[in-house]
Symmetry: C2
Subunit: 386 residues, 2 copies
């Protein structure tokens, strides 16, 4: 894939590390999903407009250290200005550039620094380096997040490369989830839109660190077409699985990097009436502070799981419900006499925990991912400024 990358240390991030990323590629089909938060940041507002107007894009620019959110008209103009600058330096149309920001909210972008940074980044374009790109967009991330895979269609190999940042939300306001996946397949925009919606639902929309949705969350997939591997109805599921693989790995990395998290928890909800119901149940468990603190304390506290389900006011018949923590059947229509000590050991000794719930209502299932809630979360989120 012929993707050029430029990065710069523009001085937006307090740490002084890389905080500008520009990626340049051939005019490419793309699909993006954005935060539903009605306090959407300026770049999100700008990108939504582009999304509705533009069949192809050929560059993105990301700054970290400042979210350009809750910044009103001036903020919007600054987002637009970032696209203009990139377009000017790369000699492309402004509408071919998408803009992303992450960091502090409620503070205007230092445009002099941004301008210099974009200039410097574009003057030094190199090959796409997943780790460095990930570093340039990261804020409070404890580690850089990237992943790649390949596939083959009609003897043509294609590549899928992804980078992401995000680690829950943090002071002064919140950290954003940003994820970008690049692939060199040939695909029509409509089919890519379908694929991305499907994948986003099962990955980035099925993770919860603390239940808070950022003003800047964005997920973009770009398909350059260079490999010649053509996606159509016959192989769309195969392709969707490849995108899903990369997106899921990135999503799991974000959960693992949840503030103070010690465990990645996979909540499988089975035998629900519908996928929507299964997802809702998974999310309710993933958002329960009582459940998450119990996981932190290695406590197989099934009451908190069932109670979180009950709180949805769905007409579940708990006398038919089954619940596993790891391989331990903990509840089977009634409390089960399980080996508590062994279950505690399972929770203690594993960084990845599975919860399996069987609702006995239907055939739909969903997997939701979350992390535990410990002292560190409180420390990070309470002690930044005082």
């Amino acid at each position: 894939m012929n993707i050029k990358m430029g990065v710069a240390k523009a001085g937006i991030k307090p740490s002084g590390d890389y905080d500008i990323l520009v990626l340049k590629f051939n005019p490419s089909v793309y699909s993006a999903v954005f935060t539903q938060n009605s306090l959407a940041a300026a770049p999100v507002l700008y990108d939504r407009l582009i999304s509705n107007l533009q069949e192809k894009i050929s560059a993105i620019v990301v700054n970290s250290g400042n979210a350009n959110a809750a910044t009103g008209e001036e903020g919007y103009k600054n987002a637009e200005r970032m696209a203009e600058l990139v377009a000017q330096y790369l000699d492309i149309d402004k509408e071919e550039v998408m803009v992303f920001s992450t960091g502090v909210i409620g503070v205007q972008l230092p445009m002099d620094k941004v301008e210099k940074g974009i200039d410097e980044a574009i003057k030094n374009l190199t090959e796409f380096d997943l780790e460095l790109a990930s570093r340039a967009i990261s804020t409070t991330d404890a580690f850089y997040k990237y992943y790649e895979t390949t596939g083959m269609i009609d003897d043509k190999t294609f590549t899928v490369k992804g980078i992401a940042k995000g680690a829950g939300m943090i002071h002064p306001n919140m950290a954003t989830m940003l994820a970008y996946i690049f692939t060199d397949v040939e695909i029509e925009k409509q089919l890519l839109d379908q694929t991305v919606k499907l994948v986003a639902d099962r990955t980035f929309n099925s993770i919860s660190v603390d239940g808070c949705e950022s003003t800047n969350d964005s997920f973009l997939v770009v398909a350059t077409g260079e490999s010649g591997a053509k996606i159509d109805q016959s192989n769309k599921i195969y392709f969707a699985k490849k995108i899903y693989e990369v997106a899921l790995e990135l999503a799991k990395m974000i959960v693992k990097d949840g503030e103070g998290a010690t465990k990645l928890i996979q909540i499988s909800v089975n035998q629900a009436l519908s996928k929507e119901e299964a997802k809702k149940v998974g999310e309710a468990i993933a958002r329960s502070n009582l459940f998450k603190t119990a996981m932190f304390g290695n406590d197989p506290n099934w009451g908190r799981i069932l109670s979180a389900v009950g709180q949805l006011h769905i007409d579940v018949d708990f006398s038919k419900v089954k619940l596993y923590i790891g391989d331990f059947l903990i509840y089977n229509g009634a409390p089960v006499d399980y080996d508590r000590q062994k279950a505690v050991e399972y929770l203690k000794n594993n960084r990845e925990i599975s919860i399996d719930l069987y609702l006995s209502r239907g055939e739909a299932d969903w997997i939701f991912y979350t992390c535990d809630l410990g002292y560190k979360y409180v420390e990070i989120n309470a002690e930044y400024t005082t």
Copy 2:
């Protein structure tokens, strides 16, 4: 008010303190609201049935230390048996007795102890003592919760006495919110039902410690009629305000006793399109872990408040929104240049904090109450068993 009280130390609570409470009164009009959690406990299922059948009740029995929840058929029979025992010892009908439990879930009641306790409590009936009654129903409460007031209608003085327990939720599963208010007014059941629904919505249904709803939550109001003060259309609002006063004080005590709470936070949402919207917005803020940890850290982090509102996906125009923390105008359509240090001092030096949000959409308002989220919450909820 002629209410007789019996308490006993039946040995259900590990602490060995009082864990059975029986209250006996004249056959009285009553109104009750229960948890909406579909994993409702056995006594809640039993009481719901009574509620639908019975115009008047004349006794309640409460045990603390065991919630009789997720206990299946045997649990239901035990709840019914508690009513039977009280009815037998007091020589009244079983249907005149309401039953409540709070404590561990998923464990059957030790019925031999319960039976002895009820026997002992009823053998030693004394005058209604609010503090002792509150103590007998408490579990993880850091202090006992009771409050009383009086009113006057046509020269007739009436009394309103309330007791409550609850302090968030705790291991092994959760603590319940129980609240009982006794008054000696004369009122028809239908009017009392209306009043209780109204009051419950504005008090116990407008508090959040950790967003988790218990399997046993119950709120009961009993009107004995002994004062002769008669409630009708002309004075129903006056009466509702008296019930509200007692219920609100009890509700605030529960929030103050939130696990590890250092602050009671009153979130006033103004200028919403509807009361439902105002309540939803208040609840969204009250449930945001990011907001609650910021309050713990004395951080006037307005971005987290607005972002919690945005997460509801309501079409709020943030360029018209105003936000106060205490007396400090923090956001006025855009970030305001306020005296941050003074706002931090305000948060640091007060146990009761007010947040005032103006949505600029309509005329409806609502007040929601919550507490901050600190280390102690994690400690209490994670470290019980390991």
